[in-house]
């Protein structure tokens, strides 16, 4: 039954993209499917969240009806706008060596990821103590599901709920199943989906064989496998950031309004994934606006309305969540009278920088960041050309934001906080960094 849940989400996302793009055939089928499933799962998660708000409790039948209703509407719209004609041009030869290699790679990785996921079936600390615990509230809390917001601050009650909502949606299709099976399967699917999106995205800009190598580099990374199957929401954060990167890199040169809406939708979903997602999405949008209006000195942007429209559509859940439901955050940028910024100074700065440098050479990453450093050094100038400039400055800006957040630490010991969070930051940035570096280093001349 969970298969049907995934199928409905996939079709939802696929049809949404089909209707958004002016020329759907411009998007390669593999990437269309990967982005379709990513978007669809996000939409299903949002529908579940709104369902909980509207009906006041978890109602599997109503969640299924919501999703099927939206899917029927999108299918009808696709027929009406003759969008399905684009599918006729798709040709897929499963017997060509590249396709066989991709299929074999993903089959092998499905086995490997499932094996490791079963080795920690309840996920790691934050997974069970935050996300999976909240999932129980959403499903079994009945009218009291909003008690989530009254829980002890150790459970981060202000964190957005996309991952538990996606899992609640998947559970709605078979309420007899064990919750652990749902969360475990989601982690494996998201880990594979991230690799699939990376492959599809890179194939647009570089040779497909190199794109496959990049995908293998990500998916075979032991630490990626361990973190992705830990059931943290960071894998979802990494996925939506990557999807946002790919669509943004497509949107600027093509000036396609549909792609702009799609980028906005992904960035809105990113914001509902975790508090960090809000900062990531706002930073990316801010940098795009600065580049467009200040650097390129353009007065108008035809993509502005579709881009912000898409963003606000999915951001709406975060706005409702943050302004109407969640308690204020007490860990980030705490400027209250009780907060003492003991680390705001040279010593704090030194500790943070040292920690970040040490993390790049940490053996758990198996030289990945050193390799990335070499790639960047070899073509440094290209990172500041065209739309790459926005993406490169995005990482620099985000490091600046992180630095400020760490410096204003009030409720934790700074070293402890760094130990617990830096590795995860590297993890969720990893797919997007690989995408950016590979797409620049091996860029096709025509792209």
């Amino acid at each position: 039954m969970v298969f049907f849940a995934y199928l409905i989400s996939f079709l939802l996302g696929y049809c949404a993209i089909l209707n958004l793009l002016k020329r759907p055939s411009s998007l390669p089928p593999g990437l269309h499917c990967a982005l379709g499933l990513s978007l669809g799962l996000g939409i299903s998660g949002l529908l579940t969240f709104y369902g909980l708000l509207l009906y006041g409790r978890f109602d599997p039948a109503l969640i299924i009806i919501e999703n099927l209703g939206l899917l029927s509407g999108l299918i009808f719209l696709s027929f009406f706008r003759k969008k399905f004609n684009a599918l006729k041009s798709i040709s897929f030869n499963p017997w060509d060596p590249f396709s066989i290699t991709v299929i074999l790679l993903f089959l092998t990785l499905t086995v490997i990821l499932s094996y490791f996921a079963q080795k920690h079936p309840f996920g790691e600390w934050d997974a069970w103590s935050l996300w999976n615990m909240k999932l129980k509230f959403l499903i079994y809390g009945a009218d009291h599901w909003k008690d989530i917001f009254q829980l002890h601050w150790h459970t981060q009650p202000d964190y957005p709920l996309l991952l538990p909502c996606i899992n609640a949606y998947l559970f709605a299709f078979d309420t007899a199943q064990d919750l652990t099976t749902v969360t475990l399967t989601t982690s494996v699917v998201l880990a594979l989906l991230c690799g699939w999106t990376l492959l599809g995205g890179l194939k647009l800009f570089i040779d497909k064989k190199i794109a496959l190598l990049a995908c293998a580099l990500l998916l075979s990374h032991p630490y990626y496998i361990m973190m992705a199957t830990s059931q943290y929401t960071d894998i979802l954060l990494g996925l939506y950031l990557l999807a946002g990167f790919i669509t943004l890199k497509l949107m600027i040169p093509s000036q396609d309004k549909g792609t702009a809406t799609l980028t906005g939708l992904f960035l809105g979903l990113l914001a509902f994934t975790k508090n960090e997602g809000i900062a990531l999405s706002l930073l990316l949008i801010g940098l795009y606006a600065i580049d467009h209006f200040l650097v390129k000195r353009k007065k108008k942007d035809p993509l502005f309305i579709p881009f912000t429209g898409g963003f606000l559509t999915t951001l709406s859940a975060t706005l409702v969540f943050k302004f109407l439901l969640a308690p204020p955050n007490r860990d980030i940028l705490n400027f209250s009278s009780t907060g003492q910024h003991n680390y705001f100074g040279w010593n704090g700065l030194k500790t943070i920088i040292e920690f970040f440098i040490l993390e790049t050479v940490n053996p758990r990453w198996h030289f990945l960041w050193i390799f990335i450093g070499i790639l960047i050094a070899l073509k440094l100038r290209d990172y500041f050309r065209g739309e790459n400039r926005i993406l490169t400055l995005f990482f620099t800006g985000y490091l600046g934001i992180l630095l400020f957040i760490y410096l204003t630490t009030t409720h934790f010991d700074l070293t402890w906080r760094l130990t617990r969070t830096v590795e995860r930051i590297f993890f969720y940035l990893m797919p997007s960094v690989i995408f950016l570096c590979f797409s620049i280093h091996w860029q096709k001349k025509e792209s």
Partner: protein, 138 residues
Amino acid sequence: MAIKANSAVKIISISLVFFLILVQLIYLLNLFVIFEKGKTSPVQEPGYEFTELKLKLKDTGRVGFITDKDMSPEGNDGKFLEAQYILAPMVLELGNSANRFTIVDSSNLTRGLAMAENIGAVPVHVTPYGKILAEKGH
């Protein structure tokens, strides 16, 4: 010359990618061996020490949770979060003993029983792991 240098860079880069994937696969293989050798017992669900209390607390919305252990974010042993996870959707209130039921998680049983007495509650159940369920007005 420039073209030659460019292709050399490309060859070196691709070789590096292959090298990295190879290193990763070796580590992955190593990880398989570690898992197979080291973990023979089944993984226990977080909060299993409190599972018994689920039935006792059926239909209870809020339960107190008191402890004599370090509850700082850096130093806590995770038992409060484990209890919250396993007993969800029940709300556990750390440090609040005003509810009818309170879970006492102490470093030893004698101390735990004294803690229950101190809040004016009677221990109604003790799990095999030494977690006490105390009730007021029993």
